[in-house]
């Protein structure tokens, strides 16, 4: 089983792949992904991600990011629209659980 920290790092890496060139398609989408990367890098290596309770929420975000990247690769922008909303929602959960209550992703 991957640790929460490893899952977070995977998610950051996937999000960076997603954001690469995404602004050509949609500026707002690109900004959202960049913001997720920034927040996740901010909370990376904090105590929460050393604990088992970090795994469920981080794993969900990691899988959301994988699905989003696949949609981007497939140029499936209809699915992408829904999937990015899911990623934003679940990334928010990760941030809240990591102890950064009050942070709102856009």
């Amino acid at each position: 089983m991957q640790s929460g920290q490893e899952m977070l790092e995977t998610t950051i890496s996937t999000c960076k792949s997603i954001s690469d060139g995404l602004s050509d398609q949609n500026e707002d989408w690109s900004n959202s992904i960049v913001e997720i990367v920034e927040k996740f890098e901010e909370i990376s290596d904090t105590f929460f991600f050393k604990t088992m309770p970090s795994i469920p929420s981080t794993r969900t975000a990691m899988r959301d990011a994988e699905a989003l990247l696949n949609a981007k690769i497939a140029l499936d922008w209809n699915s992408f629209k829904d999937l990015i909303d899911t990623l934003i929602t679940n990334s928010q959960t990760v941030i809240e659980k990591a102890g950064m209550k009050g942070t709102t992703l856009t």
């Binding site: 089983m1 105590f47 604990t51 088992m52 309770p53 795994i55 469920p56 102890g99």
Partner: protein
């Protein structure tokens, strides 16, 4: 080293002799634990009486049944638990008065047990007996709760489940933590340890304290520590005298989530090893052949009974185990859990460790990714406390007559005929001898029908349109 014997019965039940209480006694006798009890022996039954609002702890029925068996054998049983560390700012068992009140709320009292329920380490938790354990892996001494140390024999009656620090909460932990006094628990929890203690290995982050004005609940930062080691000073800075940290664990849930303290995973590993050392200390005090173990692997919650709640069990009931070997009995339970399918909707599924073969407790119970569910077991094996290689011996149910209601063994007619004649619980004198005012026949199919499954639902609106 030859294999240790672990006596076992599964958790299925369909009769008095296969009830879990009966099975507990069957494996107790099969494992030879009955042979430990001599007439007039004071026999301690060590249980976990459950934290306030926990609901997975063992029902008092098991301790009562065991106490009755010990009385049959001529022993004088008492059931006990010990004061806890102040591991939560709101703990319910940290002093004798608190634990007795909590135990009573949870059903543990002399009235229910038929023998005393006592707090084994005194009012504050300093009533203990010091024992040297040169064989210990980390610990070289242990402080055993006095009432347990003074007993002639000890039965660890354990609810086998998960534990956030121990990973498993089994026989080893029941004695390695549960039979230690409060200062004994500080020892096992690495209080003051130069390498593994929180004072040495924890990383304090006072820079994350945003000041009293920005911390509405700032008082808990000082008040979570009974040793008064946290202080918000005149400069509005949070300070911590880590050198004096006793590892009561009280600040973990306060400081960790706020980013004020990195709790060191290595401390948890060290504690898990020390648990086996401390368990050996208990056996040395009482006598290696005077300590027996029963593991009730039922209601296997991911968290310990020391949590003030109980989550959905992660695996189904595994069964009832007994042995003279604390290491073997815990290993047997871990193996059974690994071989089981995790329960759908439980934390085992959430953590994706629900498949046969998965290490359920490492995934669903541990606090840190690196913890192992066999650390205490392996340590116990290393120091000669017991043997992780075991033979699992399946026991057959005992004589049904032995497990019937014991206060009156007569059949129904001799017990009740005279009284029924006198008090007439069935009114034969009414309704032509039928006794009650009831309809003779009703449509029972109507109330047995599953209406939500009905296929012949008539869409009134569309049928009306068709008719038109």
């Amino acid at each position: 080293m030859s294999q240790s014997k672990v006596y076992y019965m599964d958790a299925h039940s369909e009769s008095a002799e296969t009830s879990l209480a009966a099975k507990m006694i069957t494996v107790f006798d099969a494992a030879g634990l009955d042979q430990m009890v001599k007439p007039n022996d004071i026999v301690a039954i060590k249980v976990h009486c459950g934290e306030w609002n926990n609901s997975a702890y063992l029902r008092p029925l098991y301790a009562r049944t065991l106490a009755d068996r010990i009385k049959e054998l001529g022993g004088r049983p008492f059931v006990c638990d010990t004061t806890t560390s102040t591991y939560s700012p709101y703990g319910s068992r940290s002093s004798e008065i608190d634990i007795l009140l909590t135990a009573e709320r949870n059903g543990y009292s002399s009235a229910t047990l038929g023998c005393p329920f006592i707090c084994a380490d005194g009012f504050i938790g300093t009533s203990d007996f010091l024992v040297d354990i040169p064989e210990g892996y980390i610990l070289k001494e242990a402080y055993i709760a006095q009432a347990i140390a003074a007993a002639d024999a000890l039965i660890a009656l354990t609810h086998f489940k998960g534990h956030s620090m121990g990973v498993i909460g089994g026989a080893l932990k029941n004695l390695g933590i549960g039979a230690q006094s409060k200062r004994g628990k500080f020892n096992v929890h690495m209080g003051g340890h130069p390498t593994y203690g929180l004072g040495a290995a924890g990383v304090f982050h006072p820079e994350n304290f945003k000041g009293k004005a920005n911390t509405p609940d700032w008082e808990i930062l000082e008040d979570c520590c009974p040793f008064n080691l946290y202080e918000i000073n005149d400069k509005d800075e949070l300070t911590w005298d880590g050198d004096k940290c006793a590892n009561c664990l009280g600040c973990f849930g306060v400081m960790g989530p706020r980013g004020l303290m990195d709790i060191p995973p290595i401390q948890f590993d060290a504690v898990d090893a020390a648990i086996a050392d401390a368990c050996l200390g208990v056996e040395k005090v009482i006598g290696r052949d005077k300590v027996g173990y029963i593991n009730m692997a039922i209601d296997i919650s991911p968290a310990c009974d020391c949590a003030g709640h109980a989550d959905v069990p992660i695996v189904p009931h595994l069964g009832v185990f007994a042995s003279m070997d604390a290491v073997a009995i815990d290993m047997a339970c871990v193996d059974k859990a690994r071989a089981a399918e995790g329960i759908k909707g439980s934390k085992a599924e959430l953590m994706e460790v629900h498949n046969v073969g998965d290490k359920k407790f490492e995934g669903a119970a541990a606090t840190f990714h690196s913890q192992s569910e066999v650390t205490s077991i392996n340590t116990g094996h290393e120091i000669g406390l017991g043997n992780r290689d075991y033979e699992l011996i399946e026991c057959q149910p005992g004589d049904p007559a032995r497990f019937r209601f014991s206060y009156d063994t007569r059949l129904s007619r001799p017990r009740f005929a005279e009284k029924f004649e006198k008090f007439k619980p069935f009114p034969y004198d009414k309704y032509d001898g039928k006794g009650y005012n009831r309809l003779d026949v009703v449509d029972l199919d109507k109330v047995k029908h599953h209406y939500e499954d009905s296929q012949n639902v008539v869409d009134v609106e569309s049928s009306m349109k068709t008719d038109i």
